[in-house]
């Protein structure tokens, strides 16, 4: 019993080493066969090369687009805007609402805002702007000029856009709804699509407003996940009995944008895969032609005692070598193309292109290239190796 097991095990080892050993002469014969018709081989390799280039380059382009978008919109996914639900008859957020929002979200800062609109003017220039009343502007915004007070008690904070329109800076005076107010700070440009767009807004102390309640509250988190958790917590507690508030959550939007880019990547990869399939068909064609031409040679090999699987190995090695050469060339070309594009277009962030996830697309294309070679070579190889030598040798 144990003897039998031992024999079986050693037989398996022998079989495996024999299997590996058989590939060496196969690859050697295959590479010589490929050199016989160089033009045809080079064209087939070129086909795979283009296919691999298409898959790798389109994959990487899609990925860089997605990474770039993620990079650009990543920050705004950390804000949740809470507004009163007018449909439920809630006109504004009360102090109690703000308190319950604070209780619900926990860690993230909650910045309630009054809201109105007014004409803002300076030295003849004038514009119509949203005016927010805020007590703790430093929790939600950053100053490009001047300094944001911890408690906002006096003076105006201008959004980047309105400051540019009025050519106003910190220390200047602007006229807001008829009163002269000193500008204490100008905010950093934000480019956000939030309903609370600070670029074209003016921020005044809460005391400038006489409204009953807050128009909105911002929940400022450190990450998209924290923002989503905060939004969920508000829905569960503040909106538990009645939908008192509406939530505008950019994290969800960011998710959707990411989903879109995933779709785009898949679409681009699919596009590239089509050209790889075309390359596969050209390998199929080359291998069929070459095995038909070499029918007698293959017959001779079989006649003098070369096993069917060894003939199969030689032919598969030929197709595999075409695939591997094309894949290697295509991968190299992709790297050169991407490097060239990065150097030529300063708008592309090199860090995005050097992102390790792009390597995955290179590897994917490389594996696909070799795989396409072997799969396309399988049928011609099987067909040629299975032909009876007596038929193949017949003139």
């Amino acid at each position: 019993m144990s003897d039998g097991d031992g024999r079986a095990a050693s037989g398996l080892t022998d079989g495996l080493s024999g299997w590996l050993r058989g590939w060496r002469p196969a690859v050697s014969m295959a590479s010589r066969n490929l050199r016989r018709n160089r033009v045809r081989t080079v064209l087939a390799v070129l086909g795979v090369c283009i296919g691999v280039l298409a898959v790798a380059a389109l994959g990487i382009f899609g990925n860089v687009l997605a990474l770039g978008a993620d990079d650009a919109i990543g920050d705004i996914g950390t804000q949740v805007v809470v507004s009163p639900n007018n449909d439920a008859g809630v006109e504004s957020l009360s102090d109690a609402d703000v308190a319950s929002i604070r209780r619900a979200v926990g860690e993230p800062a909650v910045v309630p805002l009054y809201s109105d609109s007014a004409t803002v003017a300076r030295q003849g220039d004038q514009t119509f702007a949203t005016v927010y009343g805020v007590e703790e502007p430093a929790l939600a915004y950053e100053a490009a000029e001047g300094r944001l007070p911890e408690r906002h008690r006096q003076g105006a904070i201008l959004g980047a856009g309105i400051a540019e329109d009025l050519e106003a800076g910190a220390g200047d005076t602007v006229e807001i709804a008829g009163s002269q107010v000193r500008v204490i700070a100008v905010l950093v440009e934000s480019q956000t699509f939030s309903p609370v767009a600070p670029d074209d807004a003016v921020f005044l102390p809460e005391s400038a407003f006489s409204a009953d309640g807050y128009a909105q509250a911002l929940v400022v988190s450190d990450s998209g996940a924290e923002a989503r958790a905060a939004a969920d917590a508000i829905r569960e507690s503040v909106n538990a009995r009645q939908d008192r508030v509406e939530l505008f959550e950019l994290a969800a939007l960011v998710d959707e944008i990411n989903e879109f880019f995933d779709l785009l990547s898949t679409f681009l990869l699919g596009l590239g895969a089509i050209s790889l399939v075309v390359a596969g068909v050209s390998i199929l064609n080359v291998m069929l032609m070459s095995t038909v031409e070499r029918r007698q040679e293959i017959g001779v090999m079989r006649a003098v005692g070369v096993a069917r699987r060894d003939v199969l190995r030689v032919l598969l090695a030929e197709a595999g070598l075409i695939g591997a050469a094309g894949a290697a060339a295509g991968t190299l070309l992709t790297v050169l193309l991407v490097v060239g594009l990065v150097l030529a277009t300063p708008a592309v962030d090199a860090a995005l292109v050097l992102d390790p996830t792009n390597g995955y697309y290179l590897l994917l294309a490389l594996v696909f290239g070799v795989g396409v070679g072997i799969v396309s070579g399988a049928y011609p190889a099987w067909k040629a190796a299975s032909e009876r030598p007596v038929e193949a040798l017949r003139n």
């Binding site: 037989g11 079989g15 005692g305 096993a307």
Partner: protein, 278 residues
């Protein structure tokens, strides 16, 4: 894929081959008057019919009895289409007989699987073709070693020795395109001998050679024969008949003189058709 097949197939082949050998051994020790392993290769009452389309089957070999002793050189002659190539294919395990038995080196090889036939060809049969059929991408020494290229061990030294024996010691690394016809045929003979076969089968071995080169090749056959190999050559060439120990005629699938004059293979049909030509 092929690896799996290999792992699975090899032991099965061994078992089958062993079974075949046992059976043949039993036959030999049984009621046989003459030992069947006296013959390098033998056919007993072999028929080969081809069915083409819906018409009458073509009879390529009709109840053929044929045997060649080790160290015997037999020439098979006959008009074109008489079944000579079919005979060679059946002898060489490239084609199976429709009926009858086939013996190779004392073993019944009538019904073998594809893998078993391939192995038997490699181990016991050498082929020499009219068109030499060397692989153009391989050097002379690689062509000679080609049947063993996928086996363990390196046969290059053996191949080089064989080529040296045939006077091609200085052509080892030449490709076929750099060799003359006679040299190519010598490479082909060396390839046929790489596994020390029991039988050498030659299809018009001198057909593409001038008389002088043809004679040189036939002289090589004599040397091969002297080493105990059974040599069968299918030919139109009168020169081959001169060198052969025995000439067998095959016309319309019927063979005359298929058996040696001095004996019958065991369990063969009664004699009477032997030794007509000599």
């Amino acid at each position: 894929m092929s690896g799996d097949a290999g792992l699975g197939a090899e032991p099965a082949d061994d078992a089958a081959a062993a079974a075949v050998a046992d059976e043949a051994g039993a036959d030999a020790s049984g009621g046989n008057t003459a030992p069947s392993d006296d013959y390098g290769v033998a056919l007993r009452g072999v028929d080969k019919r081809y069915t083409s389309g819906g018409g009458e089957p073509v009879v390529a070999l009709d109840d053929v009895d044929f045997a060649v002793r080790p160290g015997e050189f037999v020439a098979v002659v006959g008009p074109s289409g008489s079944g000579k190539s079919t005979l060679l294919n059946v002898l060489g395990l490239l084609d199976d007989p429709t009926a009858g038995r086939r013996l190779l080196d004392g073993t019944d090889v009538t019904n073998l699987s594809v893998a078993e036939r391939t192995r038997a060809r490699k181990e016991s049969i050498g082929f020499v073709f009219q068109d030499f059929h060397l692989l153009p991408t391989l050097t002379a020494v690689e062509n000679v070693a080609m049947p063993t290229a996928f086996d363990p061990g390196d046969a290059s030294d053996r191949a080089a020795d064989l080529l040296a024996r045939f006077g091609l010691g200085d052509r080892l690394d030449h490709e076929p395109s750099e060799l003359s016809g006679g040299q190519k045929q010598r490479v082909a003979i060396a390839r046929a001998l790489i596994n020390e076969p029991a039988v050498l089968l030659a299809d018009e071995p001198t057909g593409n050679l001038d008389t002088e080169t043809g004679e040189a090749i036939l002289a090589e056959f004599e040397r091969v024969k002297a080493e105990g190999v059974a040599v069968v050559a299918v030919t139109h060439d009168p020169l081959v008949e001169e060198y052969a120990d025995r000439v067998v005629d095959l016309t319309d699938g019927e063979m005359t003189g298929g058996l040696p004059a001095d004996g019958l293979p065991a369990d063969g049909p009664p004699g009477g058709e032997t030794g007509d030509d000599r």
